[in-house]
Each structure stands twice: as structure tokens, then as C-alpha cells.
């Protein structure tokens, strides 16, 4: 019914592609977000937040894949998404920038994503409420949102999802095919980002203020870069 026999090989192709692209592209382009989240985590349970963040990303990819498969059109949907993606890129940049500034000690708001975060001020409280890690489940909506970040390999996978929809016998089958392709792609990207996040999650680094602040300074730079790119996107 869903022509899964023709889509399954495509899903496997994109599972593999997600894995290789994850190590070849995502670490470079989305790694800063994973590292930023890691550096700001202060709680004991630091695996669950990363897991939830990645699950959120994969859910967003799957929904986008279903929409692509349903409509069978890549350009039609991405044209409508462009404005939203621009906003999300700026938002991601601002999160990284504020987290970095807090880590570097330039903003006296404490760790935004940490269990011990104690924000003061409207702006800080807004970020704190948005991404409070006292309950790690906050990382799921963060992943859902940041899954919409503009990304070349995600676009490439979405093209395949749209094509699988065009070749499907019905719109519903197309949606399932598209979702399958994107879910596999997203799952494939998890190991790379998870590895980077865990590498940046070493406790001894956070105990050393110099390195911690250095990381914060880099985060401010990359956050500003994301905002700049988002404005220009």
C-alpha cells in the first residue's frame, strides 16, 4: 500500500548518508550548538538532555519529510519555510551568544541551561524558562525548534523525501515514504552530534575557569556569526 519496498532502500541510503554527513558536515555546522548545550549543562544527568534534543530534531525532520512526501514538492514548501528558518537561525545564534556571554562572565546570569541556573532580569528569565534544564524534557522542544535550522544536507534529504512522495501511489503513501526517509536521515546524524556533545561534556573543563571562559568567548563569536548569517539568509 505504501510502496515501502521501493522506499526502504532509499531510507537505508539516507540512514547511511545521515551517518556520514553527520561526521562530515553536521559536526562542523551544527556542532557548535551541541557543544554550547554541553558546556552549559551543570546537572548530573547529561545524557538525557542530549538524547531529547536529538529526538526533537528527528521528529521535526520526520514531520518535514511527511509534508514533502505528501505534497511531492520541495520548492513549494521551502519557499514558505524560508522566513521561519531565518528567524530560527537568529534565535539559535542568540541562545549561543547569551550562553557564551554568561560563561565568559560578561553576563551575570549564571548557567542558562544548568540545574543551578538562577537568572535575574526579564531577558535572562525568558531564556531560563525557555530552556530550563531542571527538567531535562525542555531539550525536546529545543530540538524540535532547532530541527528547522537551514541546513544543506537536510535540504538534500528533503528533496529525496519529496521525490519519494511524487513516486508514491497516493498522497498518504507519499507522506509515509517521505517521513521514513527523513526519520532515517535524522537518526543517522545522531551519533556524530552526540559524540561531539559528550566530548565537550568533560567535567574537569568546567572546573577550570580559564578554559570555561575561553569556551564562552568562542561561543559568543559563533553565536554572533549565526545571528549575522541568519539576518543575511
Amino acid at each position: 500500500m505504501f510502496s515501502m519496498s521501493s522506499t526502504s532502500p532509499l531510507s537505508i541510503v539516507f540512514l547511511t548518508a545521515g551517518f556520514t554527513v553527520g561526521f562530515g558536515h553536521c559536526i562542523g555546522m551544527c556542532g557548535p550548538i551541541a557543544v554550547s548545550l554541553s558546556l552549559n549543562m551543570k546537572g548530573n544527568n547529561r545524557i538525557l538532555p542530549h538524547l531529547l534534543y536529538n529526538v526533537g530534531r528527528v521528529i521535526t525532520y520526520t514531520i518535514l519529510g511527511a509534508l514533502m512526501g505528501l505534497t511531492g514538492s520541495f520548492t513549494g514548501l521551502t519557499a514558505h519555510m524560508a522566513g521561519l528558518q531565518k528567524g530560527i537561525m537568529i534565535f539559535a545564534g542568540m541562545i549561543i551568544l547569551v550562553m557564551g556571554a554568561a560563561m565568559a562572565g560578561w553576563l551575570k546570569i549564571g548557567p542558562i541551561f544548568g540545574d543551578y541556573a538562577s537568572p535575574s532580569g526579564l531577558f535572562s528569565r525568558g531564556f531560563y524558562r525557555l530552556s530550563r534544564a531542571g527538567s531535562a524534557t525542555t531539550y525536546l522542544p529545543l530540538g524540535l525548534l532547532l530541527g528547522l535550522l537551514p541546513c544543506g544536507p537536510v535540504y538534500t534529504a528533503l528533496i529525496a523525501a519529496a521525490r519519494s512522495g511524487m513516486e508514491a501511489p497516493s498522497p498518504l503513501a507519499g507522506a509515509v515514504n517521505g517521513a521514513s526517509v527523513m526519520a532515517c536521515f535524522g537518526i543517522g546524524t545522531i551519533p556524530a552530534l552526540f559524540l561531539v556533545a559528550k566530548l565537550a561534556d568533560l567535567g574537569w573543563l568546567k572546573a577550570r575557569q580559564t578554559f570555561y571562559r575561553f569556551g564562552g568567548f568562542l561561543m559568543v563569536l559563533v553565536g554572533a556569526y549565526f545571528v549575522y548569517k541568519g539576518i543575511r539568509y
Binding site: L149, Y155, M219, L221
Partner: protein
């Protein structure tokens, strides 16, 4: 201090490991991971690698005893838009249809195949595809044209975002 006692000092070795090599590697990791988008965008001057001015005209390359001409429509060639790819072969005979792999030089973008079909005109193949946009701002793309059983040629060109 002689060399023996120098290296038998466990405290020193511990401090060397935890404060010297390891942090250096870690800081480098942190630096390159966080700075990668900026480094990647800064190193985007690849104009020397461009071998095709696809915005102006079709591009022809030699392959074996013949030539392969690539053209992309509509012009200007823009990212995130439906594009028609056209291949014109000269002096080459194919038994299987050619295909094009779209990608970015030096950056993995995932499999983006354009399947070509014979058109009404002799030795001409057409197919539809999309060049995606990279948020890094890099606009240099490449099309690897594969002619099964014959070989492949690479066209590197600039697209408009």
C-alpha cells in the same frame, strides 16, 4: 634533577597529562568545533576551482574521444529552485542513461542525484533537479556527470542564492 627521577615523578606525569597535553587537545577540539562554521565560510574563496561559467553559457569538457556539454536552465541558475539539466554528447555512445551528482567541493551534502533521460534531440539527455542552499554562504557547487561505461567529468560553477 636526573632524567630517571624526573620521569618517575608520578605527580609530575599526572599534572602533565591533566594540565598539559589533554587540555591542549581539548581546547583545540573546542576551538575547531565551535569555529568550524566561521572557518568554513572564511575559506570559501574557491574561484580558482571554477571551470564552468554556467550563468552565461553551456560548458563543454572532453571525455575519451568525445565531448560532454552541460547546461542548466533557467538562467540565472539559482539555488532552491527547480532546474532543468541538459547534457549533449558528441562522439560518445551510451547504452545506459547518464546521471549527475550535485555537491559542494570539500563539503559532504548528501546524495543529490539527477537522473537523465534521452530527449527528442539526438545525443541529448535532460533531467530535473535542485541545487540546495548552504547557510555558510558558499556558492560554489559541482556537478559530477557520470556516463556509465565511459567515465565521468566534473563541472564546478557558481550559483546564485
Amino acid at each position: 634533577m636526573n632524567l630517571n627521577s624526573y620521569f618517575s615523578n608520578r605527580t609530575f606525569l599526572f599534572s602533565f597529562t591533566s594540565m598539559g597535553v589533554f587540555p591542549t587537545i581539548f581546547v583545540l577540539f573546542l576551538f575547531f568545533t565551535l569555529m568550524c562554521p566561521i572557518i568554513h565560510a572564511a575559506g570559501s574563496d574557491e574561484t580558482g576551482a571554477i571551470n564552468c561559467n554556467i550563468q552565461e553559457s553551456a560548458c563543454t569538457q572532453s571525455l575519451g574521444d568525445g565531448t560532454v556539454t552541460l547546461d542548466i536552465f533557467p538562467k540565472p541558475v539559482k539555488a532552491m529552485a527547480d532546474l532543468t539539466f541538459e547534457l549533449i554528447l558528441s562522439g560518445l555512445t551510451l547504452t545506459t542513461a547518464p546521471y549527475i551528482d550535485l555537491g559542494m567541493p570539500g563539503m559532504k551534502m548528501g546524495p543529490n542525484h539527477v537522473l537523465m533521460k534521452p530527449s527528442d534531440q539526438k545525443h541529448t539527455y535532460t533531467g530535473t533537479g535542485i541545487i540546495v542552499r548552504c547557510p555558510s554562504g558558499r556558492t560554489i557547487w559541482k556537478a559530477d556527470v557520470t556516463l556509465p561505461g565511459v567515465g565521468s567529468v566534473e563541472y564546478v560553477f557558481d550559483v546564485i542564492y
